[in-house]
């Protein structure tokens, strides 16, 4: 038993390093995708302390819009632009209809409101796009679909080009967001808003403008995420469940931190894959990925209650 837990997995890793690399790569790619969803969360959380549960469905919605438009015969790149337009309209609508009347309400109420939005979008989306699984227009968007096959140590390592693309795009996105939040006037305003929106209002920061902006950026992130996930697994409402995975990523990284979202995503992606392959499947009957991320995040939080990169919780009296 102890051997199975402490020795055998490592022996396995050492004896098949190419397989270990493949496991890590798969973990990295899903980690990046979790992180992308988490990024949308972080942005919205920072600017409004809203725990935006709807980010998952926004991903689905963006992807469906893109594919749906393409199915109507619109050229791929125009589809992207139109989809962005749709996401903008969505952002404006959410701000007008939901956020504005709920300004200043307790966090949990706003959280609940985003679940309301989620339900609404699920129903609305199914009526418009139908429930069937659809194929992402990967090639039409010019994303390479071949795979790169490497043979380290005489083994086999398969890297999908679209995964590589996703990793690169995610990295760029993070850099851009970090610069935006920390170096610009708008970024500062977004952070201020998250701390105390009354005070933000009083210094002339317009909630409406910033919220539309932030939700729109979240919409862009959702589209990117949707393309990346869709290319891997097709587009359907079942995608929505992966949004749950973004939660432990967020908590682990810290709710306010862009860096946290990325680091958390990568950590969780790789560790859960390693755990599943080397411990979960042989010892626990598999499928540990459903909870591993949550338990991992929980354990980390016990030591750092604000997550790895979250802002220190200020407790004063």
């Amino acid at each position: 038993m102890l051997n199975d837990i402490f020795i055998k997995p490592f022996v396995d890793m050492a004896t098949a390093p190419d397989f270990l690399l493949q496991v890590l790569w798969e973990g990295l790619v899903s980690g990046i995708l979790y992180a992308l969803i988490a990024l949308g969360f972080v942005l919205i959380f920072r600017s409004s302390r809203i725990f935006n549960f709807a980010q998952g469905i926004m991903v689905v919605f963006a992807a469906l819009t893109l594919v749906g438009l393409h199915a109507m015969g619109v050229p791929a790149w125009i589809c992207v632009i139109l989809t962005l337009g749709v996401m903008f309209v969505l952002a404006v609508t959410i701000e007008r209809v939901v956020l504005r009347p709920l300004v200043g309400q307790p966090d949990i109420i706003l959280f609940m409101a985003t679940i309301g939005i989620t339900l609404f979008l699920i129903g609305f989306g199914e009526i418009i796009f139908g429930g069937e699984n659809k194929v992402m227009i990967t090639e039409e968007l010019g994303i390479p679909t071949d795979s790169v096959v490497l043979e380290p140590w005489g083994g086999l390592l398969i890297l999908e080009q679209k995964d590589i693309t996703a990793v690169v795009v995610a990295a760029l996105l993070v850099v851009a967001l970090l610069a935006f939040l920390n170096k610009t006037r708008m970024g500062r305003a977004i952070r201020a808003l998250g701390d105390d929106h009354q005070a933000a209002l009083s210094v002339g920061i317009s909630l409406q403008q910033i919220w539309v902006l932030v939700w729109f950026i979240a919409g862009i992130i959702a589209l990117v995420t949707g393309i990346a996930w869709g290319a891997r697994a097709g587009v359907s409402f079942a995608l929505e469940v992966i949004a749950y995975k973004a939660l432990p990523v967020l908590m682990l990284g810290g709710l306010e931190s862009i860096t946290g979202a990325i680091v958390g995503g990568l950590l969780i992606g790789m560790l859960e894959k390693l755990f599943e392959i080397y411990w979960g499947q042989p010892l626990l009957g598999g499928n540990t990925e459903t909870w591993f991320a949550f338990v991992l995040a929980l354990i980390v939080l016990l030591f750092r209650p604000q997550g790895l990169f979250g802002e220190r919780i200020i407790e004063r009296v």
């Binding site: 679940i115 199914e126 009526i127 908590m251 709710l255 499928n287 459903t290 016990l302």
Partner: protein, 358 residues
């Protein structure tokens, strides 16, 4: 002036602490009790029992349990369904291991197990707060459901991996299982729910309730005035999980009749959270109002197109349903973020001063 409180004076603190200091409220309560204990059972059809009355009661109870934790003690939980699952599986093991056990006793006892699990997953709340705490409850949510699936002992190793409620007798009448009649099950549920509601009302208006509310409103201050936060939070987790666990046992034994692990997955947790929030956090009555809305509404919506003779396909109705429920949640949150209970209180306040506007 229907709702006039003037002239009703209290001369002792005891009278002032009575449950319903305003006479009209007591009358209203009497009417409601008469309805649920006498009138409904007389007139309800099988369909009404199965799709409205019984589920509304059970969901209310689950929401009540959650409300103790989230509404009163301020600890956000997204793992309600899993704790219900613990109650249900515990009850299943109890009645299969000890077939002679009185089923109602088994149901009430199974809550103890979920209380235990609840406390275990509540321990992180001592360090982790707010949304971060949600992760602890989510860990419970996903881990427990996984466990229900993987731990074959829990479902007596049967092939489907699901639990099936056996026929259970009490005083010569079937109370659970396929042979039990709806009206019997309704009364059992009603009795348990009434009992636990009274208990919860007492707990929340007494010392423990104040401890919880203090912890919720400002935990630092609470600790500084002498509240042991650990005890306060853990009792909240324990009692809340107990109630939720009992609700889970009722859910499977008095209503569903069978359960697969993923029944206790996160959508159920959210559903109960909806009920608690739409009803009103920190309110007892709200849970009932919320359950009526969230459980009753889709049923009504489903029958609506048929009644109106609209030619909408069932699938579209379903989609519309989801959409409408989403929209309604938003609607109610916007008109009164503090829930239906607060809305009622507001109406009541207006009634009291009616016909004057302020």
């Amino acid at each position: 002036m229907l709702y006039r409180t003037a002239g009703q004076f209290k001369t002792t603190y005891k009278a002032d602490q009575a449950l319903f200091p305003v006479r009209q409220d007591a009358v209203l309560l009497a009417v409601i009790l008469a309805l649920v204990w006498v009138i409904f059972p007389l007139v309800a059809s099988e369909f009404t029992f199965q799709t409205l009355l019984i589920p509304i009661l059970i969901y209310s109870l689950a929401a009540l349990g959650l409300n103790l934790l989230t509404g009163y003690a301020g600890q956000l939980s997204l793992g309600t369904a899993a704790f219900m699952g613990v109650g249900a599986y515990a009850c299943y093991k109890l009645v299969t291991l000890m077939p002679w056990l009185n089923p109602v006793v088994a149901i009430l006892f199974s809550g103890v197990f979920s209380a235990g699990v609840g406390v275990a997953f509540g321990i992180p709340s001592l360090r982790i707060k707010g949304f971060y705490l949600a992760i602890a409850t989510l860990a419970a949510q996903f881990f427990l459901v996984w466990l229900f699936e993987k731990w074959a002992w829990l479902y007596n190793y049967n092939a489907s991996g699901a639990i099936q409620v056996p026929n259970l007798e009490m005083f010569g009448v079937y109370v659970a299982g396929p042979q039990a009649s709806s009206i019997v099950q309704y009364y059992v549920v009603l009795a348990v729910v009434t009992l636990l509601t009274v208990v919860c009302i007492n707990l929340t208006r007494g010392n423990l309730g104040r401890t919880w509310k203090a912890t919720r409103d400002m935990d630092i201050a609470a600790e500084l005035i002498g509240i042991n936060l650990m005890r306060s939070k853990l009792t909240a987790f324990a009692i809340s999980s107990y109630v939720v666990g009992v609700a889970g046992a009722l859910f499977v034994f008095m209503w569903r009749g069978a359960a697969e692990p993923n029944l206790f997955d996160i959508p159920l947790s959210f559903r109960i959270l909806f009920i608690a929030i739409i009803g009103g956090l920190g309110s007892i009555m709200g849970n009932y109002l919320g359950a009526i809305l969230i459980v009753g509404l889709p049923v009504v919506l489903n029958t609506l197109p048929e009644m109106l003779g609209l030619p909408i396909s069932p699938a579209t109705v379903e989609h519309l349903n989801v959409m409408i429920v989403g929209a309604l949640i938003l609607f109610f949150l916007i008109i009164e973020p503090h829930g239906l209970a607060r809305l009622w209180a507001l109406i009541r306040e207006k009634l009291i001063i009616w016909p004057f506007p302020h």
